[in-house]
Symmetry: C2
Subunit: 113 residues, 2 copies
Amino acid sequence: MATTTDSCDRNDVYAAMCPCRDMLDLLASKWSALVIGALEDGPRRFGQLRLRLEGVSPKVLSQTLKRLEDRELITRTAYAEVPLRVEYELTELGAGAAVPLKHLRDWVESNAA
Amino acid sequence: MATTTDSCDRNDVYAAMCPCRDMLDLLASKWSALVIGALEDGPRRFGQLRLRLEGVSPKVLSQTLKRLEDRELITRTAYAEVPLRVEYELTELGAGAAVPLKHLRDWVESNAA
DNA sequence: CAGTATCCAAAAGGATACTG
DNA sequence: CAGTATCCTTTTGGATACTG
């Protein structure tokens, strides 16, 4: 190959330079698994998510949503109403990620000491 | 106070005070999913893990291993040999956690853009 | 070999007040 | 309502050198 080890022919989360490492870091971050889970049953509004994710601050929730949106795991739709309404929804990709994340949450709830 | 909502009768990762939230935070941290995956096929030594987890520094790896050990997801066994040999191994609990984490890693490797 | 010690940078998290 | 702005603390990450 042309480069040394910093190419990434196949996706390998163990490879430092593999872009999929970023995706793992995102999914494996404090709030992502909870946000994605909260969207499993359909679109939700910012305020709804905020209530559901006990303890999350608006800033952190906003950041998390943006990162997920950047990675195309969720979409953000703003409706020009008064009062303002914004809905977040899983993309197809996000719905796919939701599956293993649900298994993880379920395992945790069943096995936390 | 007598507490209002900060008790945790049933495990709910969405509840701020639920101890299982801590477990989720641990599993959903940068290196945990990789460490646990690296131990799926049997015990591994510190140096082996360090090579496998490209880019991890000894300090961070050490911290990660300690947190996993504290939560009883892995065990640490030191053999009084020269040179020193230390092995890390999944506990039964850790092996259980390894299942959903593997699904997550697999999904990531299959779906990272 | 398997870490720890040190020092440091960056990111994440968080409380609160304020705005379009 | 849905965020931003601000300020601050904590956590995490990281390079490197050193030790039992």
